[in-house]
Subunit: 245 residues, 6 copies
Amino acid sequence: MTSKKTALVISAHSADFVWRCGGAIALHAVKLGYDVSVVCLSYGERGESAKLWKQDGMTLERVKSERRAEAENAAQALGVKDIQFFDLGDYPLDMDRDAKFRLVDVIRAVQPQFMLSHSHHDPYNTDHAYATRIAMECRMIAQAWGHNPGEQVLGAPQLYLFEPHQTEQMGWKPDTFLDITDVWDRKRAAIECMRGQEHLWDYYTNAAQNRGNHFRRNSGGQAGGRTARYAEGFQSVYPRTIDEL
Amino acid sequence: MTSKKTALVISAHSADFVWRCGGAIALHAVKLGYDVSVVCLSYGERGESAKLWKQDGMTLERVKSERRAEAENAAQALGVKDIQFFDLGDYPLDMDRDAKFRLVDVIRAVQPQFMLSHSHHDPYNTDHAYATRIAMECRMIAQAWGHNPGEQVLGAPQLYLFEPHQTEQMGWKPDTFLDITDVWDRKRAAIECMRGQEHLWDYYTNAAQNRGNHFRRNSGGQAGGRTARYAEGFQSVYPRTIDEL
Amino acid sequence: MTSKKTALVISAHSADFVWRCGGAIALHAVKLGYDVSVVCLSYGERGESAKLWKQDGMTLERVKSERRAEAENAAQALGVKDIQFFDLGDYPLDMDRDAKFRLVDVIRAVQPQFMLSHSHHDPYNTDHAYATRIAMECRMIAQAWGHNPGEQVLGAPQLYLFEPHQTEQMGWKPDTFLDITDVWDRKRAAIECMRGQEHLWDYYTNAAQNRGNHFRRNSGGQAGGRTARYAEGFQSVYPRTIDEL
Amino acid sequence: MTSKKTALVISAHSADFVWRCGGAIALHAVKLGYDVSVVCLSYGERGESAKLWKQDGMTLERVKSERRAEAENAAQALGVKDIQFFDLGDYPLDMDRDAKFRLVDVIRAVQPQFMLSHSHHDPYNTDHAYATRIAMECRMIAQAWGHNPGEQVLGAPQLYLFEPHQTEQMGWKPDTFLDITDVWDRKRAAIECMRGQEHLWDYYTNAAQNRGNHFRRNSGGQAGGRTARYAEGFQSVYPRTIDEL
Amino acid sequence: MTSKKTALVISAHSADFVWRCGGAIALHAVKLGYDVSVVCLSYGERGESAKLWKQDGMTLERVKSERRAEAENAAQALGVKDIQFFDLGDYPLDMDRDAKFRLVDVIRAVQPQFMLSHSHHDPYNTDHAYATRIAMECRMIAQAWGHNPGEQVLGAPQLYLFEPHQTEQMGWKPDTFLDITDVWDRKRAAIECMRGQEHLWDYYTNAAQNRGNHFRRNSGGQAGGRTARYAEGFQSVYPRTIDEL
Amino acid sequence: MTSKKTALVISAHSADFVWRCGGAIALHAVKLGYDVSVVCLSYGERGESAKLWKQDGMTLERVKSERRAEAENAAQALGVKDIQFFDLGDYPLDMDRDAKFRLVDVIRAVQPQFMLSHSHHDPYNTDHAYATRIAMECRMIAQAWGHNPGEQVLGAPQLYLFEPHQTEQMGWKPDTFLDITDVWDRKRAAIECMRGQEHLWDYYTNAAQNRGNHFRRNSGGQAGGRTARYAEGFQSVYPRTIDEL
């Protein structure tokens, strides 16, 4: 356990954390001094590696290895302190009790101020919603005094749902916009580590610019808000507890 | 206009602001140095004054006068800087263009950091949802550069929806809990100014205690959150724009 | 099987039935002559026994034993005829085919007029929503003529969802309020059997009082409804079939 | 005011009450001894009288007159005690303050045990949802002690939303099925009074038969429920207050 | 693989495809030249065969056998090219990884232009919603380049959700009506193959007639739409991609 | 009336039609031979002309005049056949009976194959949702045989809701993606006519590119869909009626 503030990202496949919350990671890791941990439940080796599979003689192990290298490079670009690969398989992702408890161990070890994972729904990709369902279950287990008694139990960290692809099909509604202008270069660098999904580089650049517009609208509108050029959006699962509205 | 931070409460009837956000008002007015303004669109003279109407010889003017006195006393107990009575009538509340523009004038004069009003839905009391609908419309007008050109246009203040009666029937979901322990005595004093609705005193005391439990759960749970004894809940209409999750 | 009317409560953890439907149990068992059965799928031994786990040298077996004693005492106070402990484990609760069929056996044996279980959603406690999902699945199996052919199949009993903690976060909306004034003393007595969760005693007393207000509102409002002082709320899963509106 | 039980139907156009709740009317009026009143806010003379308008030389007055005669005949067949035609115009229906207060007068005079009106939403026919919105507003006004002080105020009658056309497009979900087998002949007779909309006779006969199936399913299913052959479905706006689940 | 257009129906129990999309099957198979394949995940032998189980000496194998014969007859009447029985058991239906991959194999072999399955929700019958959940998961797996590399991956076929029983309780909302007038006789013939569920023959005939009314309304209304006499409704899971609105 | 196919856009403010459905307009007008009509209910002169109002000595009439010129230029670039300015005022937009009937007259004159308007909800801009509500009301009136008897009544055209700003906050969910690659240059040219809102040019270019990605995903995904580079999304209000799934 660290005395620094901490955050934990739970990513169904090894590239999700880059597109969806790379800016939040870099901002907290580099600007705000958090230790940010990332758990990749799978490599997305079967379902999100089409480009690799089109190469002759490709094997599952080589796909995993290349996906892992990409994710590690991206994590480094973003300032991630610790990235773990659970290698649980994808399409479908499936977690037994042991895998859940392994995730609980990480949650308790990190004791995050906040957690990040996928949207509640995804009709295109059932692994995504599954990862969030498990993240909520494991958050609950980590809070249980009777799970591995003696360990420090988890408090009540917020779980932010990061931006899915085709947001409207997922029923995802962001309630929080984060200005990532200062770390945009790092996010773009991390994005460019994803060599197998080059068709998404500009997509998520467009998205970040348009979220910047949303940030400006909601921080001031035509009266002049904050001049954020790049932003990310998040949906909160739990209520906030505050001392000033 | 003031150089202090400001907040604006839009209350359909003259007692709503007490039950539903008296704690938020007192906290910001007394502890945090805000100038808090309250607009009561009506006195609730027809629909929320049953006890007065049961007295012999009661008249509409006397009901209004007693309701106004109660609201002024409560406002004083809460540290409200300015309370205005639009006297637009209730059951049903109805606002024409002039009334809307009068509300826009107040919004622009106050330039609030945040606004407070009713839930989006209320099948028991159509005045409540109507007030919020108008609050949103007037927020929009106040942002228009072409409305009374030359005046300072409004930025993008949050609109918090305070707690309705029978929350689940309203589809109201709080995303924000505010600790009002330090100002609870003021809220209870304001509540006791509402002599015509004594049956609600304990109801909203119970509610504040139970919201205190929700505050504790969401700020730490069984790992030990903040020891809030009284709280209020709010639902946000617009996304937040922030620099740290 | 009994010739008396019957009801069945399916409780994820061994204390849930007390807070959430203790009044309904006592009313039907004591005043209305039902045989009420309760199934506790787990003791809540890992996740809902923080106070016990803070004692030195606590073991899982001792926690279960103390939780069981509390639940038995509460059941007795409420007039429960039969309480069964499935001891399936909690945080997470997980039911295999055998456990489901065991629950089906109970449902068929009881042949309940109505069933009671948790809300459809609970982002804080995935065991709760899971229990209701299984209750619905087992209700379906109990209706199947091909399951243990020869046994009496189940009719179409209502499934009422009792009040969760933080109702608005669960998307729970009560459509039925039950007056429990006459049996309130029994519910309070049962609540006080829950020695490990004393922080919830007043919470659920407040809740019952405020639900009493909802009962009065919906049975007459300001024209004078029933003077219920304590009530419980329930959400129905299935439509009612009636002969008079 | 009557000493008998009473019910009030608020129908946007003069034929709606027949298709949508003719069975409920006849059952309560004929079998259960209620005085049932019907208010037709308009004749549906512009928008629901295509067949009449296709006749040569048709005028608005003649359409109204024929629609009124049809509705009166249907009301008689159903045992309606009192049918009133507000003649407020349709497509669009629009009610000013006087029209609302006129409806409040009827509600207070009837003092209904329950009210019936349209679904909350109808993208095909905005008059329908408007009628329900007004019904809820007028229910609220009728409860106000300050509206025509001295009159008997309204209690808290249920508002049932009867079956719209194309139910799924309206977001209407019935929570209550009423067995109308005993009065089906009366409903069919009332339906056949609607000479201008013969294309709907079989439609609503089919609907009543299929709702009979839903009644059977929900009252017993494959274990053998009530043998209802015809039923109607309703959605409740407010919670019920009861003494037995 | 065929050079003809293809469609795939995934049916939880062996009769579902008849009631819910028999018209769509016959229309595409007979009129439009598709090869239509049907997968029955179970026979509905435990939960949807009450009439058979009421016969003396009935066994599970005999129920399956009779259900299979009925389904094969219905499939023939509808022009189905290929019907497969996975025989996975019902009440509850449960699919392990092998069963999912078997379904993926079929999807890939068929390469359907569109797929058909159950509604997202069904509180009466958890097998139905489960089948659709698995259909979506298997559609995803079939799209994965890393699943059985070398096989032709699936494109992005629409998944239509066919009409459930008690549509409003399922939250099912049709966005597409298909005119099945030309093939109605085939659908009725297929329905009559279902000897064990005769109580549903008229139910689904009524439903098809009333959906015909919906077709007319939405294709022209009172201005004169298409004279469809029978129709079926479907809800789309994914957006359409088109070249003309 | 024309013998060509027709479409009608109802735009709350004079620029909305450009950002939100400029591609659909150009595609249908230029490539598909439709006569496309546009009604601008207001100029957006008060609320959407901040840049103009910041100029010295600006007047309402000059703002309107400049906004009109921009809209006419954009309409020309898109191939619009007819653009009408109702000049009803904005912030808030308000339509009395005469204004509604004027819109009905246009709808009947155009007899559109489909209509286009705003999303159902918009908490930032109440004019938008209001315009759609009125569009639905006027569609209904245009269908009424008793409205201006003798005129050709309207059939049942689809109403497509075009893309709002901050889609997720509006609860807008596109079910239809239209490939606008072939007319993108025209849409960009129209966008550049909007000199007062230059900050939105790139925003809606980004949006169109990302919707192109959604088109590709839904027309084929990783198996290779249509190579649309620009697209627009739409939500349908009414079900489709078709002859092939």
